[in-house]
Amino acid sequence: MFQQIIIACFLVFGIAFMLLALGLSWLLSPTRPTKGKGITFECGMEPLGLPWVRYRSGFFVYAILYVIFDIETAFLYPWALSFGRMATNWFLLVEMLIFVAILMAGLLYAWKEKALSWH
C-alpha cells in the first residue's frame, strides 16, 4: 500500500507544481494580446488553408504491426522473469522460440510485401 501512496503523491505533486509555476508565470507576465499574436505561426504569412494538413501517414502499416509486437513484448517480460529464475527448464525456452519464430515469420512476410517501406 505504501508504494501506491508514494506514486499517488508523485502524481498529485507533479500537477500541483505545474499549477503553481503556471500561476506564478500568470502573475508575473504581461498580457497584451494583439491580433497578430493570436495567429498561428506560418513563417510570417497569414495561415493558408486548413491547419490540419493532410499528412500522408506512410506508417499506417507499421502501426498495425506495432500493436502485434507490443503485445509480444508484454508476453516476453513475465517469460524472462520466470526464465531467469529457472533457466534449467528446456520447455520454457523451446516454447518461447516457437512463439517468436511465428512472429518473426510474420515480420519477414510484411518485409517482403514492402509493408516496411514508404512508397
Binding site: L22, S29, T31, A80, L81
Partner: protein, 331 residues
C-alpha cells in the same frame, strides 16, 4: 511516521533533483554543443556563464503566455501536463543508492517503462491541439517515432531481467554487485538501449518531432512562456531518466566493482549521478556529431534493423543461458 508525509517529502526531494537536473542539463548542453561546434557557449553572465541558468528561468517566467486563437483550447492546456507529470513520476523509481529510492515496488522496471511511454501521447496532443501545420507534422512524427523505438527499447531491457531474475531495479543493481556489470554479457543490448534512448528523448540524430530546420520547433511551435518551459524540462528529465535506467540495468547502478555498499556509504549517490552524467555527456556528443535521419529512414532503421536484431539476440541470449546452466548444473 505518517506514510502520506513521508511520500510528500520524497516527492519534494525528487522534484528538487529534477529541477536541478534540468538546470544542469541546459547549461551542460549549451557548453558541450558549443565546444563541439568550436564555440564557447554561454560566458557572459556569472563565472563561466553559470548565471545563464537563472536568467533562462526568469525569462520563461515573465514572458507573455500566448494562445493561438484557433487552437483546441482544452487539449492545448492539458497537453503540457501529460508530457511533464509522467516524466516526473518516472523519477520515483530511480535507485539513487541502496536506501535512496522514492518508490520501490516489485515491478519497478515495468512501472518505469510504462510511465515513460505516456509523454509521446502528450506531445501528440500538443501538436494536434495547436492547429498549426508545423506542429501537426511534429505530432504525427512523434507517434511514428513511438511505434518505432518502443519495442526495441523494451526488448533491450530484457536480458538484465533474465540475469537478475527480478524486475525490481534495486534487485538488479544488487545482483550486479555480486556478479559483474551486465554491460559485459549484454553488450548488444546495451548498444541497442543507447540508440533507443536517443530516439526516446528525441535527440538530434532522431529529433523528428522538433527538427528545427524543417519544422520550426515542431510540436512546441505554438507554445510560449512557462508551458514551453515545461515541455523542455520534461525532455531534459527524460534524458536523465534514460541515462539512469541504462546505468541501473547495465552499468552497476550505484555500485563500484570491488567496493561493498557499506564502504561506499553516502558516496553511492555521487557514483550513480557521475555515471549518469557521463552517459548524458555521451548523448550530447552524439547530438553534436551526427546529422539528422530522414523520417522514413528513421522508421526503417527501427523496423528492419533494431527490431529483428533485438528479437534474435534475446533468443540467442536465452539459449546461451540455458546451455551455461546445463554445463554448470548438469540438469
Amino acid at each position: 511516521m505518517n506514510p502520506w508525509l513521508v511520500a510528500l517529502l520524497r516527492a519534494l526531494l525528487i522534484l528538487l533533483v529534477m529541477l536541478l537536473n534540468g538546470a544542469m542539463a541546459i547549461y551542460m548542453l549549451r557548453k558541450v554543443l558549443g565546444h563541439a561546434h568550436l564555440r564557447l557557449g554561454p560566458t557572459e553572465l556569472g563565472p563561466a556563464g553559470l548565471a545563464q541558468l537563472l536568467a533562462d528561468i526568469v525569462k520563461l517566467l515573465v514572458k507573455e503566455d500566448r494562445h493561438p486563437n484557433r487552437s483546441d483550447r482544452w487539449l492545448y492546456i492539458i497537453a503540457p501536463f501529460i508530457v511533464f507529470v509522467p516524466s516526473f513520476m518516472t523519477f520515483a523509481f530511480i535507485p539513487f543508492s541502496n536506501k535512496l529510492v522514492a518508490a520501490n515496488p516489485d515491478l519497478s522496471l515495468l512501472m518505469m517503462l510504462a510511465f515513460m511511454s505516456i509523454p509521446p501521447l502528450g506531445i501528440f496532443a500538443a501538436g494536434w491541439a495547436s492547429r498549426s501545420k508545423f506542429a501537426t507534422i511534429g505530432a504525427v512524427r512523434a507517434v511514428g517515432g513511438m511505434i518505432t523505438y518502443e519495442i526495441p527499447l523494451l526488448l533491450s531491457a530484457l536480458p538484465p531481467v533474465m540475469l537478475a531474475g527480478s524486475m525490481n531495479l534495486q534487485a538488479i543493481v544488487v545482483s550486479q554487485s555480486t556478479s559483474i556489470w551486465y554491460v559485459l554479457p549484454c553488450l548488444p543490448s546495451f548498444i541497442m538501449f543507447l540508440i533507443c534512448a536517443q530516439m526516446e528523448t528525441s535527440q538530434t540524430p532522431f529529433d523528428m518531432t522538433e527538427a528545427d530546420q524543417e519544422l520550426v520547433a515542431g510540436f512546441a511551435t505554438e507554445y510560449s512562456a512557462m508551458r514551453f518551459g515545461f515541455m523542455y524540462l520534461a525532455e531534459f528529465a527524460e534524458n536523465f531518466v534514460m541515462a539512469a535506467l541504462a546505468v541501473t540495468l547495465f552499468l552497476g547502478g550505484w555500485t563500484l566493482p570491488g567496493i561493498s555498499a557499506a564502504a561506499l556509504g553516502p558516496f553511492a549517490v555521487l557514483v550513480f549521478v557521475a555515471k549518469c552524467y557521463i552517459l548524458i555527456f555521451l548523448f550530447m556528443m552524439i547530438r553534436g556529431t551526427y546529422s539528422r535521419y530522414r523520417v522514413d529512414h528513421y522508421m526503417e532503421v527501427g523496423w528492419k534493423r533494431l527490431l529483428p536484431i533485438s528479437v534474435v539476440w534475446i533468443m540467442v541470449f536465452a539459449a546461451a543461458l540455458r546451455v551455461i546452466a546445463m554445463l554448470k548444473g548438469g540438469a
